[in-house]
């Protein structure tokens, strides 16, 4: 088993202080939820602070908060998932190309436009010179990084992996994908997301990190048992089959799932698969949801894993994420199921550390 021995999350909710776990919930009346950011002066030298783009700062701050939680200075290896990476810097660079007719272009946005810059900055800040990987595949980005991290720890070369899921939303991307029908119009209240019954969702962002190790310690939150991804299932019944198969692989049945965390996002076109699961195989299980808190983004499952890890440690489910009122009799296994627009589907199984 692989243990979560440290974690941190920067999100649109007040999640920076680890002692408070969703005790205060932020309500938004905008369809683009952005992070409550820390004071980056605590994380970066003033020169770096001025130079670096926002997502690199979000990534490093999330990583540093996680390392602090794990009381570690230098991780052995780094795996990051980020769907959109530093796309904002590419856009800035591209707009300056258009404005200046491809002449006398300042290179600084280009320097920071590579996806790998987020993991690279963490390597620079910590001096971690070993394994460093960045996955960028839509809603599989974080899952791919997690699968890699699990392999790394099994290989035995590294004692720990710093794993992160980082994405940002900004005006240009929001407008563009709103045009493509990904986001709701007009504005909705995030806390009423499941009741909106309209097409599209709300955009979000976040930076969540985990320190994974082969051994538990006195800061262990939970253990990650397994991860599975699948694409383009033809119908809800094949999603159920995938879930049965996944649980079977872990010698579990649906009744062993003490909490299912669903990635429903209020999009009337794509939420029915979640409703199917809530109403059928997981009908008797406690259910939760989370995208009303963080919005929809490619690596939102990193926020969901942070939730699951904290729920497991505290043995309590915050009211703000409950989808039904069935109380769990125990909290031994938590399953996260997410999909985006019925293309990338993922299952992550978390279990108690004891």
């Amino acid at each position: 088993m692989i243990y979560i021995n440290g974690t941190a999350s920067i999100s649109p909710q007040p999640t920076l202080k680890k002692e408070e776990f969703l005790t205060e919930i932020r309500e938004y009346r905008a369809n683009m939820l952005q992070c409550i950011e820390p004071d980056y002066h605590e994380f970066l030298h003033p020169n770096a602070l001025r130079r670096l783009n926002r997502i690199i700062k979000l990534g490093w701050a999330g990583a540093k908060l996680c390392l602090d939680d794990a009381q570690l200075k230098v991780p052995d290896s780094i795996c990051v998932g980020t769907g959109k990476g530093c796309f904002k810097s590419t856009e800035i660079f591209l707009l300056s190309l258009d404005d200046n007719k491809e002449q006398f272009i300042p290179p600084s946005p280009f320097i920071q436009s590579a996806h790998g810059s987020i993991a690279a900055q963490i390597a620079i800040q910590t001096g971690c010179k070993d394994y460093n990987m960045t996955y960028a595949h839509r809603s599989f980005s974080f899952e791919s990084a997690l699968i890699d991290a699990l392999m790394l720890l099994k290989e035995g070369k590294y004692t720990n992996v710093l794993l992160g899921g980082v994405d940002e939303i900004e005006e240009t991307q929001f407008k563009t994908f709103e045009r493509a029908g990904h986001y709701k119009e007009p504005e909705v209240n995030n806390l009423q997301l499941p009741e909106t019954k309209s097409a599209g969702t709300i955009a979000g962002e976040g930076s969540a990190f985990f320190l994974l190790e082969n051994q538990p310690n006195n800061n262990t939150y939970a253990a990650v048992k397994s991860v599975h991804t699948f694409s383009n299932p033809p119908d809800a019944s094949s999603v159920r089959q995938q879930i049965f198969y996944f649980l079977e692989q872990g010698n579990l049945a649906v009744k062993d799932i003490d909490l299912i965390i669903l990635g429903l996002n209020g999009d009337v076109q794509f939420d029915p698969v979640y409703a199917d699961l809530s109403g059928t195989i997981f009908k008797e299980q406690p259910q939760a949801y989370y995208k009303h808190l963080c919005g929809e983004y490619h690596t939102s499952t990193a926020f969901a894993l942070w939730l699951a890890a904290n729920i497991m440690r505290r043995k309590e489910i915050p009211d703000a994420i409950r989808l039904n009122d069935r109380p769990p009799d125990k909290l031994r296994n938590i399953l996260i199921y997410n999909q985006y627009r019925n293309v990338n589907h993922s299952l992550t199984l978390i279990t108690g550390a004891g």
Binding site: K84, G85, G116, K129, D130, S141
Partner: protein, 401 residues
């Protein structure tokens, strides 16, 4: 994982580059010593008159025809290139057995650029180009390749800049070693883009002539485009007659130095090579040829040469960069160069490092400058280094059946 490792074989390969479409076309041009770098004809850019590139001669429409893709909605040039290379790689493989768990892992760094640089103003101002909105994303080409080849298992995309495809091959190999997959289509695709051309040009690391890797007077790189994919399989499912070589080692390291530069002492590049050697359990003397990263840029070549000297001593095995042939194809370079490394193994060849004249100051290693034929090549090491200090080395070994 430490005991007997599951062997991983390459059983198919496909490529499209400025040297041509297909493995044979690429080999022919390499043997003729003829570069694919030349004037820019397809990409619309002001830099067309100033810079050369390793541009593929086919237009998007021609590529669409070659790829035989029916559904071209929202398509990108990178996806077209990727599908062409992937189909060639898979031509010998039987993908019909559902019991063989098959995945796709692709590396790309410019995938989202080619359509956004054409249509961003439309995206912001009108509904005319909405079909292209979802292609401004790195997973796009991977999903199109999966769709067109019928791969419906594990799928992911790696973006670690210029080491993306090498990392995709490494990750695919590891997933097979772990028993998570039986077969992986691994490689990468990147099309020429205005963003990358201008970006590297703004950093002043683009040579206006054909690049001169490892030469004292090198002035930078040429940007190229291309795609290459390998079919990699576990020992259990690989058909003997399809085996091209074994992937015997891989290593990854990070410089922890700078977002766009390599450490000047070569420590990071050496670590990637050492990690790969350690994994393969080969000795430095076993390596017969090194396909270097060798972009032709001031910083990267020096760091790589120092890394080579550090790992292999003052007389490293013959090495060369094939980038003066193809240009630097960025996210797909590691896959193109994997194909060239396999060609070196198959044909007992060492490709020349074009345009090299004088050794660099400070490090006395020099690349092979002539085609070397009929030298027994058993193990080839291939280097790929990327922005963010991300270094990856792969080792390909001949299989004697």
């Amino acid at each position: 994982m430490t005991e007997e490792r599951n062997k991983v074989f390459i059983t198919g390969m496909g490529i499209i580059s400025s040297l041509g479409a297909g493995v044979q076309a690429n080999l022919n041009r390499l043997l003729e010593g003829e570069t694919g770098v030349g004037p820019i004809r397809n990409l619309e850019t002001r830099l067309r008159d100033e810079l050369m590139a390793g541009e593929i001669s086919y237009t998007d429409n021609e590529l669409a025809e070659i790829s035989k893709i029916q559904d071209l909605r929202g398509i990108s040039r990178g996806a077209l290139l990727g599908v062409i290379a992937a189909k060639e790689a898979m031509k010998n493989a039987d993908f019909s057995d559902p019991a063989v768990r098959t995945g796709i892992i692709s590396g790309t760094t410019a995938e989202a650029m080619t359509n956004i640089e054409r249509y961003l103003q439309d995206f912001l101002n009108n509904d005319r180009k909405n079909e292209y909105i979802e292609s401004q994303d790195w997973g796009f080409s991977t999903e199109i390749i999966a769709r067109e080849t019928g791969i419906n298992g594990y799928m992911t995309t790696i973006n670690t800049a210029c080491s993306s495809a090498a990392n995709a091959i490494m990750t695919g190999t590891r997933m097979i070693e772990h028993g998570l997959l039986d077969r992986v289509l691994a490689g990468g695709t990147d099309a020429l883009s205005k963003v990358m051309l201008n970006g590297f040009n703004a950093l002043m690391i683009v040579d206006t002539e054909i690049s001169k890797p490892f030469d004292r007077n090198r002035r930078g790189l040429n940007i190229g485009e291309g795609a290459a994919y390998l079919v990699i399989e576990s020992e259990r499912v690989a058909q003997k007659e399809n085996i091209l070589c074994e992937i015997s080692g891989y290593g990854n390291s990070n410089e922890a130095y700078h977002l766009t530069a390599l450490s000047p002492d070569g420590e990071g590049t050496a670590q990637a090579m050492n990690n790969a050697l350690e994994k393969s359990r080969l000795q430095v003397g076993d390596i017969d040829y090194i396909n270097a990263h060798g972009t032709g840029s001031e910083n990267s070549d020096l760091s790589e040469a120092l890394g080579l000297a550090n790992v292999f001593g003052e007389n490293p095995p013959p090495f060369s960069s094939t980038k003066p042939f193809t240009g630097h194809t960025l996210g797909s370079a590691g896959a193109l160069e994997a194909v060239f490394s396999i060609l070196a193994l198959q044909n007992n060849l060492i490709f020349p490092n074009l345009n090299f004249k004088d050794c660099m100051d400070g490090v006395a290693v020099s690349p092979a400058t002539e085609m070397i034929r009929n030298k027994q090549i058993s193990h080839v090491l291939s280097n790929s280094f990327g922005f963010g200090g991300n270094n990856t080395s792969l080792i390909f070994s001949k299989v004697r059946l």
